[in-house]
């Protein structure tokens, strides 16, 4: 089937089999190496991407379901080749070690903050509850997201999660 979708701001046209998962198409055919299809059953969160601005499990979506839609990976929410502010905060707060969960974690958190811009720490824990991290113990991740949410609310953040300033 022929599909046309916008990925990280660029229009992509390709022919896919219906069975091809969005996560595999992004990673293997469109070079989005930040998309990690790990468990492939929707429980680990590593494959999370944004479709039309909302976080979804790319292992539980078919590529054909994104025809005429907009997909953003972590690369697509930063701009000018610089990391998104929440990535920098994650790094500074000890929220990144191997980095495998980071892409999905950040996108899941950003999508959540769109719906709840002033979360408590309990809210943030809930927001990342579908993202497994085997390295950091999560505390640094929660701190980073809380820090980002606070600055975003006060207008000090430079970029939105829609990509580009």
């Amino acid at each position: 089937m022929d599909i046309e979708l916008v990925v990280d701001g660029r229009c992509q046209r390709l022919e896919v089999e219906p069975r091809e998962l969005l996560g595999h198409v992004l990673r293997e055919r469109l070079g989005c190496r930040g998309v990690h299809v790990a468990c492939a059953i929707g429980v680990c969160g590593a494959c999370t991407v944004l479709v039309d601005g909302e976080a979804v499990r790319s292992c539980l979506m078919l590529a054909v379901q994104t025809h005429q839609r907009e997909v953003r990976t972590l690369r697509g929410v930063s701009s000018g080749g610089r990391p998104h502010p929440v990535e920098e905060l994650m790094s500074r707060n000890g929220g990144v070690q191997c980095g495998y969960c980071t892409s999905g974690m950040v996108l899941g958190a950003l999508s959540y903050l769109d719906e709840n811009p002033a979360p408590s720490n309990d809210d943030i824990t809930e927001a990342i509850s579908g993202h497994v991290c085997r390295c950091t113990g999560y505390a640094g991740i929660v701190r980073a997201i809380a820090d980002y949410a606070a600055h975003r609310t006060t207008g000090a953040a430079e970029k939105s999660n829609r990509g580009g300033a």
Partner: protein, 295 residues
Amino acid sequence: MLRPAAFEYEAPTRLDEALELLEARENAVALAGGQSLMPAINARAVRPDLVVDIMRIASMHGLRVANGRLQLGALTVHRVLVTDPRVRHAAPLLAQAASLIGDPTVRRRGTLGGSLAHNGFGAELPVACLALGAAIDVHSVTGDRVTPAVRFFDGGHTVLAPASLVTAIDVPVAGPAEGSAVREYSGQRHGVNVVAAARVWRTPAGRCGDVRLALGGAHAPVSLDKLAAEHLIGVLVDDVRSVEAAVVRLSRAVEAELLPFRTRHEDLSGAAAGRSIAAACGDVARRRLGKLHGH
């Protein structure tokens, strides 16, 4: 690495188209939010020849309150159940149950109808629908029929015939004398969560006038209304100690009742049942106090 086996894909925009597609192919499945079905397809536990994506069928979306009932399209996503003020007000039990599903990302895609049709172990919405006495509307090419929740769930399966779709769910609007609660416990040794949903009615004299209790998780969703009634009817719901005493007896009775279903593993079904009842009694009191203070 898990990848699906090959299948064809259709995305109809009308219900009758979808039903015809499902009827015409023997090995077709309906795909809604995909949060239950896609894991099975990825692992090749399910190998359909045709996937019929039903998310574009407008008539299966939407919800409204009418004639004392909350009517929900089967494609209502869990996030809407949690956040929509009409659901929170009319059927708080549904909102509470949905808030326990997965995580925020899963709740953006997973649907009410999909959860009921799948009836997976540990699913919260089948239990909530049992406690609510939900009416489940099912369509096929031959017509539609409404099945009460207690007949829809059949052990670990449903009575949903091949090539038919859950299209809508209908639940009663909660009245002012009703309290409800859902309690879920995870971390059991076999890894499956236990979930209990309870509704309690308070008479003007302050006693439990009626009760509904449903349980699921380690076993298939089951209605325990009779057992709950035996232990709760007549209890002073505003009196914490009376409620606790009744709840302890009920918890033990639930465990005894479910003994045939239990494995060697520890089972928190009794605890879940008891805690949901206690919380529902607390909810009744809270609502009543809210009313007294004009909330």
